[in-house]
Amino acid sequence: MTDTTGSPDTTGSTAADAPTRHPMTGNRLTAEAAAEGHGFEEHAYDVVVIGAGGAGLRAAIAAHDAGARTAIVCKSLLGKAHTVMAEGGIAAAMGNAYPEDNWKVHFRDTMRGGKMLNHWRMAELHAQEAPERVLELEEWGALFDRTSDGLISQRDFGGHRYARLAHVGDRTGLEMIRTLQQRAVALGIDVFMECTITEIFKTPSDEGERVSGAFGYWRETGRFIVFKTPSVVLATGGIGKSYRVTSNSWEYTGDGHALALRTGASLINMEFVQFHPTGMVWPPSVRGILVTESVRGDGGVLRNSEGKRFMFDYIPEYFKGETADNEEEADRWYEDKTNNRRPPELLPRDEVARAINSEIKADRGSPHGGVFLDIASRRDAEFIQRRLPSMYHQFKELADVDITAEPMEIGPTCHYVMGGVEVDPDTGASSVEGLYAAGEVAGGMHGSNRLGGNSLSDLLVFGNRAGIDAAQTALKSSNQSLQVRDEEVRAAAERALAPFSIAGGENPYTIQYNLQDLMQNLVGIIRKSDELSTSLREIEALKERASRLSVEGNRQYNPGWHLALDLSNMLLVSECIATAALERQESRGGHTRDDFPGPDPHWGGRNLVLTLGDDGRVELRHQPLPAMPEELQDLFEAQP
């Protein structure tokens, strides 16, 4: 048994034999690092991408192809990022299943799904470029399911007028991450695995300040690492780990959101958090694990304890024109989309999640506090196993439920944050020169609610755009002018080690647990003014407790220490969500206020923008929505 009470300076046995290449990654380590001012391992790149999910990998590939020396830095092993959990598919109007589908229809679906709060330009670029980004994956080895004439097959999903999700069974995310990972490896891009960035450095520039580098630690050894770089692309994903019931993994602690705020960038739309309608509810240990929307896309329906398809009772005025109001029409739609309207089970996710929540509250739920998702009575076993193999496997292995024979029990689970770093739609650039964001950590694309399938395409389209611009910015600026000051590096190291300096303080796991309960109960699916005010006070109290926490053990692969550092990001992002949620006095998309139940045109025209003040407090301001050009506006009047 090893001594786990060693001093924080103990970095384990690997510290002694300084290798020239990192054992995990094969990246070269600078031998002279120790001789330099701050004494830590240092690397210089043109572009540093933080995160190795879909957006990060796509950004790195684009930056590399644009001629930049590029590094990927990620918290987990390569290939394990959250993108792997995406199941249903990549939304792209390729027209393989329905030739009448095109980017304009996709654009319109996306904007309507987001209740028109999306940045129109992002939604436009996304719809236009997604098909080519998908074909590119095929170029790099992805094996999508095919149509009968050999093209990429496309499946139905909520809120999409036509079947347009390119997919591989129900494991599309795995296919996408493996394809991008293999591409990045083939290009020889340096990857710093199990390495966490805690700070971004800035240096004076002509326009004020710009990015100059980043600071982080190797999880494996606890040793610090410094990057000198003019461009940083944040591709860190979301914030779901701040909620008790979530489909998100441990990595989703809002790192990129918090790094952006601390670097001086702004966040928008943070009040909009997506609760996916269908997460597992039983047994308790799997509560929150995602059940793909493809179950409904492939014919599955929602029923309450009385056996009723209750979604017909929850069709909002806004979607009445395009939603079937009886079971016969809804069922015909799967075969004939031209003459029938979409089943209400395939309304956008916010609508379905609220409806399920209402059924459960009205005591018409399933035995374990969900509702029933039934595909067993609607499709044959062979079809289900072929189309939804990993759902079949997941329920069989984890819940002893055979989904080809009995209904699943499901309920809403925290899945995605629409809000994120405010970026230039064309380039992914934040307001801080050299700082970019792409994927879930960026805001604006999805407005108040994201359609299923639009996430994977978002990662590809905007990862690519951010990577290209980050490379161009870097190649224009000269590395020599970048300054990373030794005293800043040393201060960053001190902050990272602070949790070791307090003895007898609270355990970080307990504080995280309390935060998750607080966010789940007070800033969840249905929100109220008084509860939101309470949540802000309680977050303040948790911040205070977090400043006095202790971690045990030493710096080598110590999850307690890692959590302690992640916690400050989770607390800051939670404060942003609660602050914006309290301010927006209406219900729209992923933000539902019990005290303001309907949408309000006044609020429909504005974004809430959050920044960090000099005193470390979150500041909020209102900002009008960017005006959509007329030719795009016409799309909303022309169609049903």
Partner: protein
């Protein structure tokens, strides 16, 4: 419902370590990873363990449970009796970093050695066509979540570190087979898979297939067909002659890499 689970967990680092005994409260329906997380949150804050999705999709939480290579997130406590002691140790074929975390860089090095996919040009309309039946074989192999349990189990390298430089392991035989069976790939990796990747060292005992959490038939569907394809290339004179005569820019005469 809940009960107190007796758990033995290997704690230590490269310099050594041993099994520590713990008692952890567990609930109905939980998996081994839940018990490990509760242990971490309440008794051993610095217990090192990898995990991400907790749903058998990312392949991070590989370990040996009572000596059997498994994913901790897919191993249900209900499969054991309440009185049983569950022993969790790190994967044995990789050097330990700390506690349950091992240095799996061997796999990432082998990944870099596989020449990448090189497709034929697109059809005139900018798309590519492949039939479902032709992509299905590769799709089975691409279900791989890179948990590396097959690599850990394979007796060619388990307790035989010296074989590692010459042996890519079952995970990468899958990859070679996937690319070889890809309808549009123009590279021929058969010689490479035999020579540099060490396909010939595999004597098809199927240990890898047995531990695959995705149920991929690694031996039957990837390794054996790949061995046959290597043999075809090497010993069939007609194939050999054909490869010398026909030099077309498509898949019919692939480029040896």
């Amino acid at each position: 419902m809940g009960y107190e689970l007796k758990l033995r967990v290997w704690r230590g680092d490269a310099s050594g370590g041993g099994l520590n005994e713990y008692a952890v409260q567990v609930e109905e329906g939980e998996v081994v990873l839940d018990a490990i997380h509760r242990l971490q949150a309440t008794q051993a804050g610095d217990l090192a363990v990898r995990w991400n999705c907790k749903a058998g999709k990312c392949g991070s939480c590989s370990a040996e449970i009572n000596g059997r290579p498994r994913l901790m997130c897919m191993t249900r406590l209900a499969d054991f009796a309440e009185g049983d002691v569950i022993t969790v140790t790190p994967m044995r074929s990789f050097p330990v970093i700390r506690d349950l975390v091992t240095d799996v860089s061997y796999n990432y090095e082998k990944a870099r050695e596989v020449p990448s996919f090189a497709p034929t040009p697109r059809d005139p309309d900018g798309k590519r066509r492949m039939m479902q039946v032709d992509v299905e074989r590769g799709q089975e192999f691409r279900k791989c979540i890179e948990c590396f349990l097959c690599q850990n189990t394979c007796h060619v390298v388990r307790d035989h570190d010296h074989n590692k430089p010459a042996f890519a392991g079952p995970r990468f035989f899958l990859r070679y087979a996937e690319l070889d069976m890809h309808p549009l790939d123009t590279n021929d990796r058969r010689k490479l898979s035999q020579d540099a990747a060490g396909l010939g060292m595999c004597n098809i005992t199927k240990c890898c297939t047995e531990v695959c959490p995705e149920g991929i038939k690694i031996t039957d569907n990837a390794i054996i067909p790949m061995k046959e394809r290597v043999a075809d290339r090497k010993y069939d004179p007609v194939v050999w002659l054909g490869s010398k005569i026909f030099k077309r820019g498509d898949r019919a005469s692939r480029e040896e890499v």
